[in-house]
Symmetry: D2
Subunit: 137 residues, 4 copies
């Protein structure tokens, strides 16, 4: 298992007229944290992988909104990668507010895709070499 935490500060534009963070922004918070988790776990950046011809679009997204988030709060987004990635990469998320209350849980399924053919492909070797040590028993 690989676990990584990222801080995200709520932007004013992310609030809506209910006075809370609009739900569509949580997918962005997941993405920011996932990108950092990707790099921390593998030692390669997402943009270098994309430059090398492999993309990582979403197949599935799930969110549960437990408590609202508010403007200017610094949220902690925890990414949990519980299984070694294959053609698919599963990431789970837990978001905590400044009072350390769990306010959101989520899950995404991503798929490695060849940029040319737009077909699913194996993850790049340098990515797998980086992440494997975190999943050995």
């Amino acid at each position: 298992m690989f676990v990584h935490e990222t801080k995200v500060k709520v932007r004013y534009a992310e609030t809506d007229q209910m006075g809370i963070v609009h739900h569509a922004n949580y997918a962005l918070y997941y993405e920011i944290a996932r990108t950092e988790c990707f790099e921390a776990s593998s030692g390669i950046t997402y943009e270098s992988m994309e430059a090398d011809g492999v993309m990582l679009p979403l197949l599935e997204l799930q969110s549960k909104f437990l408590k609202p988030a508010f403007y200017n709060q610094v949220l902690t987004v925890k990414c949990l990668v519980k299984e070694l990635p294959t053609v698919r990469l599963n990431v789970e998320y837990e978001i905590y507010n400044e009072a350390e209350q769990l306010i959101n849980i989520g899950k995404t399924v991503l798929v490695f895709v060849d940029k040319q053919t737009r077909k699913p492909c194996q993850p790049p070797k340098n990515f797998m070499d980086g992440v494997k040590p975190h999943f050995t028993t």
Copy 2:
């Protein structure tokens, strides 16, 4: 069951550097369609309900991304309300591209909330009076 369709045209800003619609925008497409479905099924607008002191935040969101969407496509977002709303409102979504291919399916759970107390509440009477006829057997 109540079914409603809305057209949404993909904005340039909704694309990302993969050249496809960024996944976070699907939650916005659901919301646009859900708002229209809300009004079509009940005869009242969402904003009139909010002005009357009841809000409808999200509790859960699920999406499956089957095919990409592209800039300037006119998507059809179908909302399906399969059960009579209670304190919770469940809406399912199907998004079709111009070739009538199903490109995305989703599900949201919303909850009626009193704007003052921020606690769950029964849906307003005028909303229920409007939707009930669609669910009688």
Copy 3:
């Protein structure tokens, strides 16, 4: 001069906690209207031009916010192209609310850019052939 009008319905996610449309969305409204204006004036779509290797990024943006816009309002975005495009395309905007009050004025300067070299270039011939008749005296 070429003038074109587009309707845009305010999305819930576009509001912020002041209860009005967040100012960053006006650039999106301009873009939606400009894209339609582009097509109406030239007979070619923006995406066909991009597929042919010419892009149209922004060089300058100016906005004045005269009155707020609110959720679910249908705004009218008027594009005014006052001069024949050259390497640069100047577009002015007027946004009206449902009461026909002018709520926003804006201006953008765009530049035709070759997708390969990323350098400014002349607008495509099929675009210019389409727009020229609107600017003859």
Copy 4:
């Protein structure tokens, strides 16, 4: 004069299909930096002012896009407040990329507004007390 710098990391969702940051996001970058500048210059947070009944909407926005920004770059957003705020607050912006190239310049005019009456008002005393020392000669 008061000058403040903020770092902003480009999000994937902020890119568009040209492969660069979509122009509408610069208004968000300005806002993130402005909020921090507001607090650094005055010692009070923007949200505390809003809670006390004063809001700060935009009247004017100007941007010049000198060079593109790319995914995952850490941008430096410099805010320059050149004059003591009155009912209006003028802020200028300079955005630099990681190579310290100036990529964007901007300007906003904001107005202090009473939340109840929605009319322009003097800035709060605690805000002015905080900022005045930066503008004495």
